[in-house]
């Protein structure tokens, strides 16, 4: 099932105040009197009544793209061992709806990933401008998403490393992700074709080189260690100009001997 990573911990948020034990739901099950409704936790100023629309305004709780709320755990409804997730029922009782929920909005899974796929190139600045310009779409599975930035391109992206099995595939993906964006940066009129392919990311021969920052904070060239080792240690990626390799890596790196001319 896409969209709802399982087994993620809840962020310590207001929502954690809502007890997750089944017992609470069970008591609520049949008699949801007005009194009980008033005692329910809400994200609204106190004293508002059921009907008034102004009370119903959902507060804009911050929702991470990774959906770390209890309501998302409702994705586990159908797994037998799960005993604590009756989250969606809270929705029908309360008048405010804090967290995201299984299957809502009712969009089929192949439509959900448009925001994170490489199709969102130059088409729409309006949408891309919201937030920090980086597409924070819901991951469709437990992927390994790392940020990737490219020199001279203000918009960063995210790549799901679990989708690739080799450096070549990653390199190809980087090309697809950034080619259009780079062309847009370079060509002010924005209409002059979609730019040259970004090649040679791994061998130092291209205009750009792919580097990464590992879990110890070191900046290194991509491609030197076995793929799986790379995947387990990478924290973020950066595409830099090949001419800047030495300065980029020197800054906070102890592995200068990896540099080539």
């Amino acid at each position: 099932m896409e969209g709802c990573p399982r087994n993620r911990e809840t962020c310590p948020k207001l929502l954690d105040l809502i007890p997750q034990e089944r017992k609470w739901y069970h008591d609520e099950g049949k008699n949801n009197t007005d009194q009980e409704k008033k005692l329910e936790l809400r994200l609204a100023p106190p004293g508002g009544d059921e009907e008034d629309g102004s009370v119903m305004k959902k507060k804009n709780t911050k929702k991470e793209a990774e959906d770390k709320t209890i309501f998302n755990l409702s994705g586990n409804h159908f797994s037998p061992s799960n005993k604590t997730n009756y989250a969606p029922h809270h929705i029908s009782q309360k008048r405010t709806a804090p967290g995201p929920v299984v299957g809502w909005p009712p969009v089929r899974s192949f439509r959900k990933n448009l925001a994170s796929s490489s199709s969102s190139k130059l088409g729409n600045d309006q949408i891309n401008k919201s937030g920090d310009g980086e597409k924070q779409a819901e991951p469709k599975r437990e992927g390994m998403f790392v940020k990737i930035n490219m020199d001279s391109v203000p918009i960063g992206r995210k790549v799901d490393l679990s989708a690739y099995g080799s450096y070549e595939q990653l390199s190809f993906a980087v090309d697809k992700l950034f080619r259009g964006l780079l062309a847009a940066q370079r060509d002010a009129s924005g209409g002059e074709g979609e730019g040259k392919p970004i090649i040679g990311l791994l061998d130092g021969k291209g205009e750009f080189t792919l580097t990464y920052e590992d879990n110890e904070g070191d900046k290194m060239l991509v491609g030197d260690v076995p793929w799986q080792m790379f995947v387990s240690s990478v924290k973020r990626l950066r595409v830099i100009k090949s001419s800047e390799i030495s300065s980029a890596l020197r800054f906070g790196c102890s592995k200068e001997d990896k540099m080539r001319n």
Binding site: G3, K30, G53, I127
Partner: protein
């Protein structure tokens, strides 16, 4: 009485086998007129196409029932569990075409665990023996395996049309078998289905000689294809009219295909619509390629659109009756010059990235619009919505012939819905999804009752309704009172109490399909509908307030109703709570293939 299910014939007729056949051999004068009548009837009933008419004809008398059963060639089964395959083959002897639907729609949104059922296997194996002349199979939300497809390909030598909509369970290897063995194949349409990539080059599996292909749609197949083979296939398919490519076909490749067969094509799915091969600095003349598409009236694809190439489609815009941009993140500025030319457009699907501004452009140009679907580019609850009541208002004013609407937005007002209810009297399908749950009218702060009320009241032809936003019982009172023709109703996060559902179940005389999630409806409401569940195709209620006890009561009271409880925790503490209820009428009792998480009461 429902019109559209073949299983609507009263039970008694189905059980009594007609004996007049046995009497023909004895040439007594009593049976002779029957025999003649039967032949006459057969010849006459052949011309009856509509299943409503056929259902009616079959009720006249036993003879008519029998002859109708012999002459029905196209069978529609709205719920695969409403009857067994054996009953189908016993009742209808000469079926050429089967349309079969499986899972309920909410399964698309992960509200139902995988492996719930709707297996095609028993159907194909039964039909393989009974209908060797079968020509067409159209499945929706069924679980189809590669083995099923192989069996299909082997059992029906004259097989012509395979249409799989929202199906899963098979892969490219199953498709390969169909391509290879079904020599008379005219239509292979894979639509919004989940096709696993078995790394089989299915395109190469089509036979070498000229094919009968008229329609090939594989835009949902998430696997690269052998383009050379596809080129060859298109080249030897002179009857090909509809071609929908997947995103692994680049613009250059589309260009080459258009060079081969553009003038015949009526429907084109353009694949990725982005450049695959960058080494050529000079892109081919896409505009000329599209100019050659003189017959194209339906355009889709744009799966990974490179917007700078979008203007290439301008030559076909004036002819388009159907345009699907719903995979392309197109800004208003990019969109307006295109839509400006689409005067004949009747069906338009797009992402909300075109914004209210884009919708205004649609309203200004597309006066013939019948169907509009706006999908969210970013389907989350708390984003800034690029479309709103402004776009809807514009559409209602500009597109008076609108019949079908699906609209995802973040904010809406009652006023816009009221306006639409007056401006668009032809509406038969109205599905509005305000993505923020329980959102009221964002201008007045009131519930969305009056807006939806106006829709049901003024749109007298409305047959399908999906509601959203903050709704009280009053909205449902309107639905029950005015929704005279509503057959399908979708409710989510709405209503205050059981009364809401009661209004609907006690009103809405034509209600067939009811799907409800996360709404405070409980046992009282469920019981209030018992007089009509036999006349409905199904009822789905998930995350409501039903108890096991009540569901059991319903199951006991209505023996021909299959009452499935899905995913309920069978721990003692919450034994009573029903997570998901899915119930439907069935002529053959509860199904035998229910998985463990389904309890049939």
């Amino acid at each position: 009485m429902s019109e559209d299910d073949e299983d609507q014939s009263p039970a008694t007729d189905l059980r009594s086998r007609n004996k007049s056949r046995n009497c023909i051999s004895s040439s007594s004068s009593q049976t002779f007129p029957d025999h003649v009548l039967e032949n006459v009837l057969e010849n006459v009933l052949q011309f009856l196409d509509s299943r409503c008419d056929r259902n009616a004809a079959s009720l006249v008398c036993k003879l008519w029932w029998k002859v109708e059963g012999l002459t029905r060639s196209e069978v529609f089964i709205g719920n695969c569990y409403a009857l067994s395959p054996a009953r189908l083959t016993q009742r209808f002897k000469r079926v050429r075409s089967l349309l079969l639907k499986g899972k309920p729609r909410f399964a698309d949104f992960n509200l139902m665990p995988a492996d719930w059922g709707a297996n095609f296997a028993p159907w194909v194996s039964t039909m393989a023996k009974a209908y060797p002349w079968l020509e067409k199979v159209d499945l929706k939300r069924m679980f189809v395996t590669d083995d099923d497809l192989a069996l299909l390909a082997e059992s029906f030598p004259g097989f012509k049309e395979l249409i799989l909509v929202c199906c899963e369970g098979f892969g490219t290897s199953g498709i390969a078998v169909v391509a290879n063995k079904c020599r008379k194949l005219k239509v292979l349409d894979l639509i919004e289905s989940d096709v696993t990539d078995d790394e089989v080059d299915w395109v190469s599996c089509f036979p070498e000689d000229v094919t009968c292909l008229e329609s090939l749609a594989f835009d949902c197949v998430e696997a690269p294809i052998n383009f050379k083979a596809l080129e060859g296939l298109v080249g030897r398919s002179p009857l090909l009219r509809k071609l929908r490519l997947n995103r692994f076909v680049s613009l250059e490749e589309v260009h080459r295909l258009l060079l081969l067969g553009a003038p015949q094509l009526t429907s084109l799915g353009t694949g990725s619509f982005s450049r695959g091969d960058q080494s050529q600095q000079e892109p081919p003349d896409y505009v000329a390629a599209f100019r050659a598409c003189k017959s194209v009236v339906c355009l889709s694809g744009f799966r990974e659109l490179m917007p700078e190439y979008l203007p290439a489609i301008l030559p076909v815009c004036a002819n388009l009756t159907s345009l699907n941009f719903s995979y392309a993140n197109i800004s208003p500025d990019m969109f307006k010059p295109i839509i400006h030319n689409c005067h004949k457009l009747q069906i338009f699907w797009a992402l909300d990235s075109i914004c209210d501004e884009g919708l205004q452009a649609v309203a200004a140009t597309c006066k013939e619009l019948r169907e509009l679907r706006i999908f969210p580019f970013d389907p989350r609850e708390d984003t800034e919505g690029p479309v709103s009541e402004l776009g809807l208002q514009a559409i209602s004013e500009g597109c008076r012939k609108l019949e079908s609407l699906l609209y995802f937005c973040q904010h809406m007002t009652n006023a816009a819905l009221i306006a639409m209810s007056h401006n668009c009297p032809e509406l038969t399908v109205f599905r509005l999804c305000i993505m923020g749950r329980l959102r009221p009218d964002h201008v007045t702060g009131k519930a969305m009752d009056e807006g939806f009320g106006a829709i049901v009241k003024n749109c007298k032809k409305l047959t399908r309704l999906a509601v959203s936003g903050l709704l009280t019982d009053q909205a449902f009172r309107y639905m029950g009172e005015y929704g005279k023709l509503i057959r399908t109703l979708s409710v989510a996060f709405a209503g205050d109490s059981d009364m809401a559902l009661r209004h609907v179940l006690e009103g809405c005389p034509r209600l067939q399909k009811l799907e409800i999630r996360d709404s405070p409806f409980g046992d009282v409401a469920l019981r209030s509908g018992m007089h009509r569940y036999y006349n409905m195709r199904f009822v789905w209620m998930s995350a409501c307030r039903l108890t096991m006890g009540c569901c059991k009561d319903v199951a006991r009271a209505m023996p021909n109703l299959v009452v499935e409880v899905i995913g309920s925790d069978d721990d003692d503490v919450n034994r009573d709570y029903v997570e998901t209820l899915y119930m439907y009428r069935s002529l053959d009792g509860p199904r035998k293939d229910a998985p463990q998480f389904v309890t049939i009461l």
